[in-house]
């Protein structure tokens, strides 16, 4: 009985420790966010660093986002055809492709791709700077690391992701077009006309809002985990993993929240 009681006590203690550390992490993330807001308002904005990061996160991610979008559009057209041909609704394929791409697939897939590519790179870069004392060096050189390292990256993420998604939207729709016209014998003019007539501003806009939020989440989590990296190479590796995992989960979570918000509109 005593043994059972002590093991129950140990289990409760462990549970409380986990809950406590979870709330500590939330507190740290909120504190990090508030610092970002504070320093972005009160201190210098490094335009050069922002432009550099904009190119890194946005322009350099174009190939990976483009490839993802074109194949997604192609697969979507093929799979839609499989289903719609069963009840002679093939003409709805352009509508389904454009709706799925603009509202859902382009922003989510671009977000996940950029999280794996740029989010990991941000966490690794800032994490390495942390463990090699480069961030401490910045502080002693009268440079606020939030303004120099964090804020330009977050703004670059917020702005570049929607632009990437616009490109992804176009390429994704073109992927569907290629399959429908070349493989399923659709009339090219009718396909494009259907797409153009069906798509609404809100479809594209909701995707862009998602992309902006995802851009923030990716860069913020990358910066946060990199900035809190501890130890040596192992710590940097861990921060990279945490960054990709947390931003991917948050992307999927926020995707649902934003979708349900626009669903009510």
């Amino acid at each position: 009985m005593t043994r059972l009681l002590s093991s129950a006590l140990a289990l409760t203690k462990r549970l409380f420790k986990i809950i406590f550390s979870f709330f500590c992490s939330i507190g740290e993330i909120v504190d990090f966010f508030l610092n970002c807001v504070k320093y972005s308002i009160t201190e210098k904005f490094y335009v050069n660093i922002f432009l550099k990061q904009f190119l890194k996160i946005g322009f350099n991610s174009l190939p990976v986002v483009g490839l993802t979008s074109i194949f997604t559009g192609m697969v979507l057209a093929l799979q839609s055809y499989t289903g719609f041909s069963r009840f002679s609704a093939e003409s709805a394929i352009p509508n389904v492709v454009v709706l799925s791409i603009t509202r859902e697939l382009a922003p989510v897939l671009a977000g996940l791709m950029v999280a794996g590519r740029s989010g990991a790179a941000i966490a690794a870069e800032i994490g390495t700077m942390k463990v090699t004392e480069q961030i401490d060096a910045l502080k002693t050189l009268s440079t606020n690391p939030f303004n120099y390292l964090i804020i330009p990256r977050i703004f670059a993420g917020i702005i570049s992701l929607p632009l990437l998604v616009i490109v992804g939207d176009i390429i994704g729709v073109m992927g569907g077009y290629l399959i429908c016209v070349n493989l399923l014998n659709f009339n090219p003019t009718v396909y494009l006309q259907n797409t153009y007539n069906f798509v609404q501003f809100i479809d594209v806009f909701s995707g862009l809002v998602k992309a902006s939020v995802f851009g923030f989440l990716i860069t913020f989590m990358g910066c946060y985990h990199g900035f809190n990296a501890k130890g040596g190479a192992q710590g940097v590796g861990q921060s990279t993993t945490y960054s990709v995992v947390s931003s991917s989960i948050l992307i999927l979570l926020m995707n649902y929240i934003i979708t349900s918000f626009f669903f009510r509109l």
Binding site: E125, T128, M129, T132, E133, Q134, D136, A137, L138, K139, T140, L141, S142, T143, N144
Partner: protein, 237 residues
């Protein structure tokens, strides 16, 4: 007449259960070179990080000039305070995404760095290079140039010769000696290397178990009767 520059009073610092600095007292005097020696993990680097303001201490106070307790400074004051220090970090801590010229520009907005490079014995051709293209010894020299370029009130050298071969270590020691003595900069050196101590230290503080166990003039270090320090100098555990 010696004038106090930094007063460390009863500072206490612990990480979870491990006490690193245990009510430590230390005075650093203006224009003097102080070397802090001690075994690995004795808290030397933690002490200097507390002095610079990179780390908050749990208790006690550190005074610098008119500033009484640097733990209480706000962000802006802390930034201002840190700018009084020039630091050569253990692994130089040069920003590896920037070339040497851009690294040096953090300390001074000037366009020409010929003079400072000449002082630390480096050619101008390295300005366009990146830290990864330089040897460890050259990186240390650039780190030193970056530290003294901003004309600091206090120079902190964290293990300046660690990772260098004996010949380069000797060159770095001589370089530091020339710079420190010529410019009369208040210097705090954290080191394991007794050559550094003999070369340019005026005073020595021996740190053990979170307190200063021995403090005195560098030239009297070998006459000390402190057995822990004698063992440390002789390399005996």
């Amino acid at each position: 007449m010696r004038k106090k520059k930094i007063i460390v009073k009863n500072i206490y610092k612990s990480f979870k259960d491990k006490v690193v600095l245990n009510k430590l007292n230390l005075d650093v005097y203006k224009s003097e070179s102080l070397s802090i020696i001690g075994e690995s993990g004795s808290g030397k680097s933690i002490l200097t990080r507390c002095i610079v303001g990179l780390l908050k201490y749990d208790n006690g106070s550190i005074s610098f000039g008119n500033l009484n307790n640097i733990n209480t400074l706000n962000d802006k004051e802390k930034m201002n305070y840190m700018s009084k220090f020039g630091i050569l970090f253990q692994n130089s801590a040069l920003l590896d995404s920037l070339n040497i010229k851009e690294n040096l520009k953090f300390s001074s907005k000037q366009d020409s760095f010929n003079k400072i490079l000449n002082e630390v014995g480096l050619p101008n051709s390295i300005l366009e290079k990146y830290p990864s293209e330089l040897s460890v010894g050259m990186q240390k020299r650039v780190g030193l140039a970056r530290a003294i370029l901003k004309k600091p009130e206090v120079l902190i050298l964290d293990e300046p010769t660690t990772g260098l071969d004996p010949i380069i270590a000797r060159q770095i020691n001589l370089l530091i000696k020339n710079l420190v003595k010529k410019n009369k900069i208040t210097t705090i050196t954290v080191t394991h290397d007794m050559e550094s101590v003999y070369e340019f230290a005026d005073y020595v503080a021996f740190l053990k178990n979170g307190i200063i166990e021995w403090y005195g003039e560098a030239r009297k270090i070998n006459k000390s009767r402190n057995s822990s320090m004698i063992n440390f100098i002789k390399g005996i555990d």
